[in-house]
């Protein structure tokens, strides 16, 4: 029983002084390279993705999970969590989503399941910010129920031909490589699913950008594969191992969504409070009315609870635990809260909250995706319910 043991425990059992330094670096990057341009980019519904990607790559935002031999600075998942949190505060869900999807989706599949040659070809330039990845799992008829995907992969000589449609694919129409889930053995259900890396110039692949209610700067696309021919080295991991890989990667994707949601909700609450302090009604700042003070206190409390729940899942994941129920809890709880915070923030803005010239409407639209993407709240509760033996 020694009291001094606590001196050696990092903050939340996670963050060291080095992580705090990294946080400053990422925050500075966001303040310089992203934040000043957010309004302009959002109005345009696009942003100079290649340019920002390259800058972020130079700062090292895509390498925290990756070893130095692939140009990374890791592996350090806590450092990666810090990067996620700071990107989520950039003021544009779309920019955070584009960069975050690149950081956490397609390249990490190549890192984890790829051969040495595949890693050199797709992972290294992705870490450097010179190449953009996208992950294509969802289909028009299949979202959270991954085992039911319809996209077919048929052997064609040594290579493959892909047929089917993928949708809601972040960075899908602008990516340099797309990790695609397809079934090569429909009779085997989940054990028939394999992963393939497809490049955009493959014959038979076409992409169409989809308009979205939020995440306006990021490209969301539908990809059509019409007998799309790809070479043998496109297969990522073993044939039939795709479902397990997706399930495994989902945990990190969901954890990252929880981390982002906690961070974004905090930024949204700060925005709401700043407005409520400046805005007067009935002779005093709106922030001084007790009803609002208590509402802000409740939201801040729930954000703190979401943070503790998310860090609990992160600690377990980083330690190598399976952590599926914990991650699922954090994902639905934090993303639902982010949405609720955004709705309250919009409310305190009154009429201005409904106007496009105030940023709170964007927080509101952007936050709405959280309880849907990466597995809906309903699917998270199914997973948790199953873990309880129900």
């Amino acid at each position: 029983m020694s009291a001094t043991r606590f001196e050696t425990i990092p903050r939340f059992g996670l963050f060291t002084a080095e992580h705090d330094e990294l946080r400053d670096v990422v925050r500075t990057f966001v303040e310089r390279a992203v934040r000043p341009h957010v309004e302009e980019w959002e109005a345009a519904g696009d942003f100079p993705l290649r340019d920002v990607l390259a800058q972020a790559g130079t700062v090292g935002l895509f390498g925290a999970k990756v070893e130095p031999e692939y140009w990374g600075t890791g592996p350090d998942l806590v450092a990666d969590a810090v990067i996620t949190e700071e990107l989520a505060r950039c003021g544009s869900g779309g920019v955070a989503a584009s960069l975050g999807a690149h950081k956490d989706l397609a390249p990490t599949y190549v890192h984890r399941y790829g051969t040495e040659e595949q890693r050199r070809r797709w992972l290294v330039p992705a870490v450097a910010g010179q190449s953009l990845g996208a992950l294509a799992i969802t289909e028009p008829g299949t979202g959270s129920d991954v085992a039911a995907i319809q996209t077919r992969a048929i052997r064609d000589g040594a290579g493959w031909r892909i047929s089917g449609t993928k949708t809601f694919i972040t960075n899908g129409d602008v990516a340099d490589f797309v990790v695609v889930a397809a079934t090569s053995r429909p009779d085997r259900g989940r054990d028939g699913i394999s992963l393939f890396v497809v490049e955009p110039d493959s014959p038979g692949l076409s992409a169409r950008r989809i308009e979205t209610v939020g995440w306006r700067t990021s490209h969301t696309a539908e990809l059509s594969f019409e007998n799309c021919a790809i070479p043998p080295e496109s297969l990522l991991g073993e044939e039939g191992s795709g479902f397990g890989s997706i399930t495994e990667r989902f945990r990190w994707e969901r954890l990252v969504m929880a981390l982002s949601a906690v961070s974004a909700s905090e930024a949204t609450l700060d925005m709401a409070i700043a407005y409520a302090r400046a805005r007067h009604a009935f002779g005093r700042p709106v922030a001084k009315f007790q009803v609002w003070r208590h509402r802000f206190a409740d939201l801040a409390t729930e954000i703190e609870a979401a943070r503790s729940l998310t860090y609990h899942a992160l600690r377990r994941y980083v330690a190598g635990a399976e952590a599926t129920p914990e991650v699922s809890m954090a994902k639905w709880f934090a993303t639902e809260l982010d949405w609720r915070v955004a709705d309250e923030a919009l409310q305190v803005h009154g009429g201005y909250g409904y106007m496009m010239e105030f940023p709170v409407q964007r927080a509101w639209r952007d936050a709405r995706l959280g309880p849907i993407g990466g597995g809906t709240t309903e699917v998270m509760k199914e997973i948790i319910g199953r873990s309880l033996g129900l």
Binding site: F6, E7, L309, H312, F333
Partner: protein, 381 residues
């Protein structure tokens, strides 16, 4: 995998507390609930086992542990199956006595703290009055100097352990003109002339624990019973409340967790419309929601305790942990009662008791509303 607040040694300690609670306390719960109090031997026995001084230095008979140990005790006491015993024990070891260690003289520690840790003296904490609860600054019990002594007059209410305490850590107003600088704490023996237990109070829940109204009628105490600095009582009691709230949060969540687990087991075997009620999707999702909120409340409490041990004084987080634990626990036990249907509404299921007992945390130790005031003030609002 343990939260960093805990080590494997804490888990060994947890099993020994659990063994004691399950074998020596839990069998008596029904009887104690009926009688409206538990016997004094519980304090003595827990003192002998070292469970009343886990965070206190060994030189005073404590175990030299940390917040992790105190939280383990609070959590395991929930396994008595009622909130009352755990609350009374927490008042003894985590609410009434910490100010003695923190602010007391060596003589006061020897006289009050050491026997309290042994379970030989029972302690109560006198803050609330009929007209002042969460608004501590509004208390009216006075202490005035009379030569070398102090004379105390006033009334305290809702005092846990009050009917049988050997001494009371009492908050008084010693200088009416000095505002927040006019409060002082005293150690008052229960056998002091003028100190009476005017009545015992009946409560909605927490039945195993006795609650009293105390009257101080010209109670004379010597100058050496002033606890801490004269005029500093308000700050001192605010410090006390931080630990009280943290331990209250931990115990509350543990109680709700047990109710949740019992309800989950029930929902797996109770059938309706031809299948277990837990297999209905609406109930499955309700359980998922409850499990998530409990975990969030628990981790918030652990993180708060960890921050405190790491050297922060996390007043905002403590208020958040207490507020959130109370809100979640009440929602969870209410959901549990619903799952039990008619059996939940009938006394004897255990759920209705958990439901009644959980209600107190949103009032005691500072109401939800006061927590929101503190939180919003620390946010500059």
């Amino acid at each position: 995998m343990l939260h960093p607040l805990f080590t494997p040694e804490h888990e060994v300690f947890r099993s020994s507390v659990r063994r004691f609670v399950e074998s020596e306390l839990a069998p008596h719960t029904e009887e104690w609930e009926r009688e409206g109090r538990f016997p004094d031997w519980v304090f003595k026995r827990m003192g002998d086992l070292g469970f009343l001084g886990v965070r206190y230095p060994e030189r005073y008979g404590g175990q030299g542990g940390d917040w992790g140990h105190a939280i383990v005790v609070a959590e395991e006491m929930a396994r008595t199956g009622s909130g009352g015993v755990g609350m009374a024990v927490a008042v003894q070891s985590e609410m009434a006595t910490p100010p003695i260690l923190k602010f007391g003289t060596e003589e006061q520690k020897q006289r009050y703290l050491v026997p309290a840790i042994r379970g030989e003296k029972i302690a109560c904490l006198g803050i609330s009055e009929p007209n002042a609860g969460s608004d501590v600054a509004g208390i009216e019990t006075t202490a005035r100097r009379a030569g070398e002594r102090w004379v105390i007059n006033g009334q305290k209410t809702f005092i846990t352990n009050g009917a049988r305490a050997d001494f009371c850590v009492l908050v008084t107003r010693s200088d009416r003109e000095a505002g927040h600088e006019g409060f002082s704490l005293f150690l008052v023996d229960a056998d002091a002339p003028g100190f009476t237990v005017s009545r015992e109070l009946h409560k909605l829940g927490m039945h195993s624990s006795d609650t009293a109204e105390l009257v101080f009628d010209d109670v004379h105490v010597s100058a050496d019973r002033l606890l801490g600095e004269e005029g500093k009582g308000f700050v001192e009691i605010m410090w006390e409340l931080q630990g009280e709230r943290l331990i209250g949060a931990a115990g509350t969540i543990a109680g709700a967790q047990l109710a949740f687990e019992g309800t989950l087991a029930y929902a797996k075997q109770r059938e309706a419309f031809g299948r277990p009620i837990g297999s209905f999707q609406a109930n499955r999702h309700r359980f998922a929601t409850m499990a998530t909120e409990l975990e969030a409340a628990r981790q918030l409490t652990y993180d708060t305790a960890l921050a405190w041990e790491r050297g922060e004084y996390p007043v905002r987080q403590i208020s958040m942990a207490k507020l959130y634990a109370g809100v979640v626990a009440n929602r969870v036990v209410n959901g549990c009662l619903q799952m039990f249907g008619g059996h939940g509404y009938a006394t004897g299921s255990g759920i209705e008791r958990a439901w009644r007992d959980a209600r107190l945390i949103r009032i005691g130790g500072g109401t939800d509303e006061v927590m929101r005031e503190i939180i919003s003030r620390t946010m500059g609002l």
